[in-house]
């Protein structure tokens, strides 16, 4: 476990980017402590997003059903699709989907 910074060109960068006087953090406001007062309303509870995510993940969405469609197109058009897919390092299906995404966006 090291506690001594190393010296290299990045050390100089560090000194120029973060002067020693920069504070660690802007402290968040501390909670106000209330005493007494029968009518004081309760503080709203903070949301625990991590817990909500865990609960949400537990309710997994089922994957969308897949179907197979056959579409008849001229050979020349099929060749163009294959050529474009190869250029983009995509499969034929990926390319067609991307085109549809753009067309229907």
């Amino acid at each position: 476990m090291n506690m001594t910074p190393k010296e290299n060109s990045n050390s100089k960068l560090l000194d120029s980017l973060i002067p020693k006087s920069v504070p660690a953090a802007v402290a968040p406001p501390e909670p106000e402590i209330r005493t007494g007062g029968a009518t004081a309303a309760p503080e709203p509870r903070e949301r625990n997003i991590a817990a909500e995510i865990a609960a949400e993940s537990a309710r997994k969405k089922p994957p969308e059903a897949r179907v197979t469609m056959t579409i008849h197109i001229p050979q020349s058009l099929a060749n163009k699709i294959d050529s474009a897919a190869k250029k983009g390092n995509l499969s034929r299906n990926e390319l067609v989907r991307l085109i549809l995404e753009k067309a229907t966006a």
Binding site: M1, N8, L13, L14, V22, A24, A25, V26, E94, L98
Partner: protein, 255 residues
Amino acid sequence: MGRVISIVNQKGGVGKTTSLVEMLFQAGNLGKKCLAVDLDPQSNATKMLTGEEWDPSVYDLLIGQNKALTLRDVVQPASQDWPNVIVLPASKMLGTVEPHLLTRMNRERVLKNLLAPVRDAFDLILIDLPPTVNQLTVNALVASDAYIVPTDVSEYARDGVRTVKDTADAIRESGNNPDLEFIGVFFTSFQKGGAHAVRQLVEDLVDDYGAKVLGTRVPDSVKVTESQKARRPVGALDPEHAVSRAYAQLMEVIL
């Protein structure tokens, strides 16, 4: 103001840390001033970028018990192989940070507040995360302008990406970061010309996320293992390697 991007996936072993160190290498070599924030208790990014572990670490800043400790006391310069890169190091203690964060006011914004004074100093701030969804993930996504999801092409990839997307959507809807941007998903450990099952998984993700499935496919390569062993980026070992080229292409999308 520097752009803050989280590299996130709930699934482990998808190349989050490898992506972070390679992306930093590419950005640093383009002259971009970068800060790496390592929030993974395994500290692999810290060890890779600086060659060792550090005390104090980002853990000490997150728990806020030592009020005298400043960010400047904790950040470290990266090794020479990563020009223009500064590191906010992790430590194993991050594994115990959850209960500390839960007791802090504005617990979702602790990291955002921590980075606020130095955001202007950097062009790019990249955050590495552990393979889980917890308060660290929430803090990272609240502090970020955008997030990107590396994924392998495995049976559980779809679930991992969906969980990240659900988490980010929940953060947006909670009002903690309504402008959080989804840059997209990219593939790591990609085997070109793979089997039907691989193509099917890629197509499933395209079904789910459309054009947010980026063209970047980082190939599966032993070069990544060699780079980890040498604690040097693939980009420095072999700038023309397909892995380096993939990350260079990814940074063109991001920067």
